[in-house]
Amino acid sequence: MKYFVKVREREFEVSLEDRAGEVFAMIRRLDGSGSPVEGETARERRVSYAEVDGLGQYSILDGTRSWAASIEAARGSNSEFNVGLAGENFPISIENERERAAHAAERRVATGPRTVTAAMPGIVISVLVREGDAVEKDAAILILEAMKMQNEVRTESAGIVKKLLVEPGKTVAAGHPLFIVTPQ
């Protein structure tokens, strides 16, 4: 099981493995692009974890290294914690692989160029814009005929038409990319 943990400004990938009732961890520091930092090697560590009092105190053994840690969730969150360790406070956020992928997709949706795909198989009847055009939200970009019905394919956000990936007369399958809009 992989987790991605942001501690203050730095990000780590922590791979955990359960073997015979024990947990083993590999930690790699990630660079800004999410790849392991070159030249830093990870070693496997055996971790023992025990809750102390039900109020936020934990005992952690990293091999034989003992830590008296405090962990408090930020407002009941499962992804944001405050970790107290040896007099210091570390705000952290954590994602598992599934959440990381979902969050990354959300971020792409929010900021990056968005590729609009065909929701159904059909034929491109006409294209209503040119590359480089500025378009409003919900503007019609092209007309796709499917099951004898002509449907306008519209933008989800205002932006610039970055690329048209089809031309009139083209037959497309469901999921075929149609055009790319850079949101503005």
Partner: protein, 505 residues
């Protein structure tokens, strides 16, 4: 001076007109002396430690201080109802209000603090400067009368020499102060300082002092009785502060040698005598380029009094109670410190976000212990930090045979401390203790400005690991994490982790 007895019987019951750690501190001294105690509380403090530790407790009002801990009528009524014969004001709230001291005396109760006349004399910056000049106590060069307008201010500033500080005559706590480098800056600074003084203190009067560059803040503890004795009990170095809020305090000061320590203590005693001071008080000085200057006198017990107690082996609150009962001081003049004591304040403020107040409920609490560590705190599990009162939660004090040992001990204690649920100044204080300049004793009141420490890389890695393990094992109990492969129960039978994580909130 009414209500002040000489050689009278010991006070029997004290009402503590305060809350938090200082109320508890006074209750403890009373208990040790066989004196009964009365706590007062506002609604949110119903379950506070000072209420539970006192013999009696009386509600004085709703949360806002103006209706509770500053409510003189309710407080005096509580004293009357419980038959208290003395009132201890603590620090803050009503402690430096001469009118309160007078009201207590008028109610035929003993005020455990200086006479109202001494508080009045020291309460006004200009009258205290005049009194100090007359008592031959060095003051920062400058005026003892207010300036009428910006033009007069320029004339006087030229005589004193730039840079100068414009200060509010009725002021304190850093409000109404402006540093002025030259003539051109002065008119605007005069207007803003005067306006700020008017709104903060209802007193627009401004006077001028020379601006001391990078001073240290060093203060002297004094104690006086009603028999004419006044003694100094060493100094406290309090330069580690932010906007006049102290963070780290220690005694002895690393900068004073025996000669200037003696001179500073002598001046503090002269200052106290000049205003007829009795009971505990603190004379604050600024130290700059090998000289010291009177800053102000705090007519009460100080927050940081424990460092003096630890290094001098005395009990200042006990002494306050004895002196207020009319007994003679048990402290000797020219006491010598034994070793070194240092304190940090744990405030509910976020040092990583410009010290904004942090409120919340303290669920997770671990207080330090061990040899020569003292914890003065009103904290307990379930304690709620509200926006109504001072942000001070606890003081951690350590004693050592020398400064390095005291610092190492306090470092150790702060590593044991955890106050969960709010952000505190403790991690910042720990970084200060580890700073090379601080350890060398090389600092001034500007030390905390821009103070940063490189993040601890090794700890960050450990934190990442334990956060992941917590999420993997403990956190898997939460409904939000349903991934089956993250459940420790997969290994057949409940594991010790699963068992130990049951019942967490």
């Amino acid at each position: 001076m009414r209500g002040r007895r000489i050689g009278g019987p010991m006070i029997k019951k004290v009402l503590i007109a305060n809350r938090g750690e200082i109320a508890l501190r006074v209750i403890r001294a009373c208990r040790e002396m066989g004196i009964a105690t009365v706590a007062i509380y506002s609604d949110p403090d119903r379950t506070a430690l000072h209420v539970r530790m006192a013999d009696e407790a009386v509600r004085v009002g709703p949360p806002p201080p103006s209706q509770s801990y500053l409510n003189v009528e309710a407080i005096l009524d509580a004293a009357k109802r419980t038959g208290a014969d003395a009132v201890h004001p603590g620090y803050g709230f009503l402690s430096e209000k001469a009118s309160f001291s007078q009201a207590v005396a008028d109610a035929k109760l003993i005020f455990i603090g200086p006479p109202a006349s001494a508080m009045r004399a020291m309460g006004d910056k200009l009258s205290s400067r005049s009194a100090m000049v007359a008592a031959r106590v060095p003051v920062v060069p400058g005026l003892t009368t207010p300036v009428a307008d910006a033009e007069a201010a320029i004339r006087e500033a030229v005589k004193i020499g730039f840079p100068v500080a414009l200060k509010a005559a009725g002021g304190g706590g850093g409000k109404g102060i402006r540093m002025v480098r030259d003539e051109r800056e002065l008119p605007a600074a005069f207007r803003t300082a005067s306006g700020e003084a008017q709104s903060a203190f209802n007193d627009p009067r401004i006077y001028i002092e020379r601006y001391l560059d990078h001073p240290r803040h060093i203060e002297v503890q004094i104690m006086g009785d009603a028999h004419g004795s006044v003694v100094a009990v060493g100094e406290r170095e309090c330069s580690i502060q932010r906007r006049h809020q102290k963070l780290v305090e220690e005694t002895p000061s690393p900068i004073l040698d025996p000669t200037n320590r003696e001179a500073m203590q002598q001046c503090a005693v002269q200052a106290a005598r000049a205003v007829g001071y009795t009971n505990a008080g603190t004379v604050e000085f600024l130290w700059s380029n090998g000289k010291f200057y009177f800053l102000e006198m705090n007519c009460r017990l100080q927050v940081e009094h424990p460092v003096t107690e630890m290094a001098y082996g005395c009990d200042l609150v006990r002494e306050q109670l004895r002196v207020a009962s009319g007994e003679k001081l048990s402290l000797r003049a020219s006491m010598r410190p034994r070793g070194h004591a240092i304190e940090v304040r744990v405030n509910a403020e976020d040092p990583e976000r410009n010290f904004i107040p942090s409120i919340g409920t303290i669920r997770n609490l671990r207080l330090p212990a061990g040899p020569n560590v003292r914890v003065d705190s009103g904290l307990y599990r379930g304690y709620e930090v509200t926006p109504y009162y001072d942000s001070l939660l606890a003081k951690i004090i350590a004693w050592g045979a020398d400064r390095a040992q005291a610092i190492a001990r306090l470092d150790r204690a702060l590593c044991e401390l955890h106050v969960g649920g709010v952000k505190t100044t403790a991690p910042l204080a720990l970084r200060v203790l580890r700073d090379a300049r601080f350890r060398a004793g090389d600092f001034d009141t500007h030390f905390l400005e821009g103070f940063t420490v490189a993040p601890d890389r090794e700890r960050e890695e450990v934190v990442a690991m334990l956060a992941a393990v917590h999420r993997h094992l403990g956190g898997s109990r939460s409904a939000l994490a349903a991934a089956p492969q993250s459940d420790a129960n997969n290994h057949g039978g409940p594991s010790r982790w699963a068992a130990s994580s049951r019942g967490r909130r």
